[in-house]
Symmetry: C2
Subunit: 425 residues, 2 copies
């Protein structure tokens, strides 16, 4: 008998029927002999409705009060879920983030978990209860104020609780069957991944895959908590994310050369044109951006034209930060000494992720060939040990993803579908 | 400069507009130089909607989880109210019952306040903030579980906080102008009362007046916290409830002989027929009722018929408890030895309340005469030092209330309207 942490998202508990369905699934886990701790998000559209109310009373809702407001959402879903479980004849107790010991810093609306002290949860499950914990929320260490963790925060709550409780697994229930080799809405032949390493999942998450957020996977890797991403509707086996490949039948699932293709059209590109090509210039530019609290993604500096001694520096960043970045750079224009700024939000990023590319030199070439064959022009390139990313026109992204997915034999019904093991591509 | 506790009910904060209107009123009090602590209920129908959700997932929602659910309502209204105040340029912080130090017993759904430790509230107002506190909720002393105080609990929260903070006044804002000499929906000529003593208010509350609940007034009397009941819409002076009459202009408002007429049609009457007229019989009956956790109101035993040695015992109780009481008595039939039970839920209670009746012997006679003149038949009578109550047919109640109200000169445009001072009635 082990301890399982399960997390259910808002779409799984969107209404009373959903809550009752989830309650049955939780009770099944309990009947199978597990201790069960459940992390739950707010019901369906609750959070959006609360945000709408907030905007009606105040154009810029304040951080502390906004968090107090939003956390009402999980309070509702968790209490209802506990009631639904009790109605099935099992004992359940719900706990707020604060009661569950989720201690955070004081950065309202996007707090980070500092520590988890799950004494009450441990006691509750040891007494035979199913413990239901509010996702997405905590309490600040210094001021004891209610905080929220930002988008995807419930997944992080689940992983952090699993780590603090030394759980056997953290099951993330969602409305898809798992992690896919590409976004199934773009690539019809995308396959569900049975197992993926923390490293590859981290690269996918930071390249545009939405199933798990980077922060949550990072936390799981640090504490070595296996994550099982699966559907709350189908009950099928989903995707395991862990250090070691899982067992399937009497075989271990082997490390894939290529885990998947991710894409992202939420970024824009800024090019700083005509920067003096001398030491320290890049530092001045990115200090200005950092001071504006903007996270950037890819950075590329072109070779300078020898005749002018000037170069161009391009970087990508979330579109939502575009205005702020341009303002910050304009303010620093004298210090940097650039000629002009170019802003382009019609770009897309395609990334190929897989630990196998470390030992398979043909991957990079194959990636560029596939894009070339599809007639897709590459604007920027950036690589890590286990990822290659390119920036293209936004209009080309879907076609590019399909071309790459197919070229690397990831398509589900292709003869090339077996991508596990050393096929040497 | 003093400290004011203001309480706003759900109808005052039913929507974003209501919240903004209330925010303005709060800021006005702050501008007048007061420290302001605000207790707020859930918005309009929120609580009913949450109850509806609970019933969809579980026919009998469990106490602990039900409280967790319901307290989401105040969390929403208090956060929105704090945002609306900040939007007016003033600092505000919202606090849950638990954060505000409202410590209760563990009786879920109708917890009682044991203690209030308002350290965080004191700090918040001393730092210049307007503190917004969730009404209706607290945290249990032993288990640290979230509790609710039951119907009208926000008023009690406000009075308890006012006592703990040694406030100058507790202002209860509602959707009526104050406490009236009778229910204005029944008596068109009912007058707003300028001042009423705690004692008279307690009797009115326990006789069916809905403006303030008994528990809240009892708390205010114990800690001698003046209550000012007033409208959140009109801004007019309302009704003061306190030990000492208030000053109006250069005159003190004097003690009224009769404070008002209350009525109640929420009760039923049970008559235990043919009870042996011997010591200990009543004790057996009411122990059976008490063991079923039913609160009773009036009790009347008729003189026994000498020939049979049997008597009848009647009592009134909330209609909602009728079924439970009948069951409890049937179970105890052998022990009690009665002949039969009669259940009647077509009754009403009319009560005349006023400290003046202690020293004005004509009041009781006048009350009965007024009912007689109106052709209302009396079924039961019960009195306290400052109250006379009768039970009549439910159909007669409105007519009886109007008759008594008029007979005691309480009508607003009557020549007899001056009921302050020793008119000797």
């Amino acid at each position: 008998m082990g301890l399982v942490v399960q997390k259910y998202g808002g779409s799984s508990v969107a209404d009373a029927e959903g809550i009752k369905r989830v309650a049955k699934r939780i009770v099944d886990a309990k009947k199978n002999g597990h201790q069960v701790v459940v992390v739950v998000s707010a019901m369906g559209d609750t959070t959006d409705e609360l945000i709408d109310l907030a905007e009606q009373v105040s154009p810029i809702p304040a951080g502390r009060e906004f968090d107090m407001l939003l956390t009402a959402g999980e309070r509702i879903s968790m209490a209802l879920l506990a009631m639904a479980i009790k109605n099935l004849g099992h004992e359940a107790q719900s706990f707020t983030g604060s009661q569950a010991g989720v201690i955070t810093d004081s950065v309202h609306n996007k707090a980070r978990i500092i520590d988890v002290t799950p004494g009450r949860i441990r006691t509750s499950v040891d007494e035979g209860n199913i413990a239901i914990v509010a996702g997405f929320q905590g309490v600040s260490q210094d001021k004891k104020d209610i905080t929220t963790l930002g988008r995807g925060g419930s997944d992080t709550t689940a992983v952090a609780l699993a780590a603090a409780l030394d759980a056997d697994v953290c099951e993330i229930y969602t409305d898809v069957d798992g992690v896919f080799t590409a976004d199934p809405r773009v690539v019809k032949k995308a396959r569900k991944i049975d197992w993926i390493s923390f490293e590859d999942m981290l690269e996918l998450a930071s390249s545009g895959s939405k199933v798990l957020l980077h922060r949550c996977v990072e936390y799981a890797r640090r504490y070595n908590i296996p994550i099982h991403v699966r559907s709350s509707f189908s009950g099928l086996q989903g995707t395991w994310v862990s250090n070691e490949p899982i067992q399937q039948g009497d075989q271990k699932v082997e490390q894939a050369i290529i885990s998947g293709v991710a894409h992202d059209t939420s970024e824009a590109k800024i090019t700083v044109v005509g920067v003096p090509d001398k030491p320290g210039e890049a530092a001045v530019i990115f200090r200005a951006i950092a001071n504006a609290e903007i996270n950037i993604d890819m950075v590329v500096q072109n070779v300078s034209a020898a005749s002018t001694g000037l170069t161009d520096i391009s970087f990508t960043l979330p579109k939502t930060e575009g205005r702020k970045a341009i303002d910050a750079l304009e303010k620093a224009k004298t210090a940097i000494g650039f000629e002009s700024l170019r802003y382009d939000d019609q770009i897309g990023k395609i990334s190929l992720v897989g630990a196998g590319m470390k030992t398979n030199p043909g991957v990079t070439a194959g990636f560029f060939e596939a894009l070339s064959d599809a007639g897709v022009n590459i604007e920027l390139i950036s690589t890590s040990e286990i990822r290659i990313s390119v920036v293209t026109r936004a209009d080309d992204v879907n076609e590019a993803v399909r071309a790459v997915h197919s070229a690397f034999g990831l398509d589900s019904d292709s003869d090339e579908a077996v991508v596990y093991g050393g096929t040497g591509r």
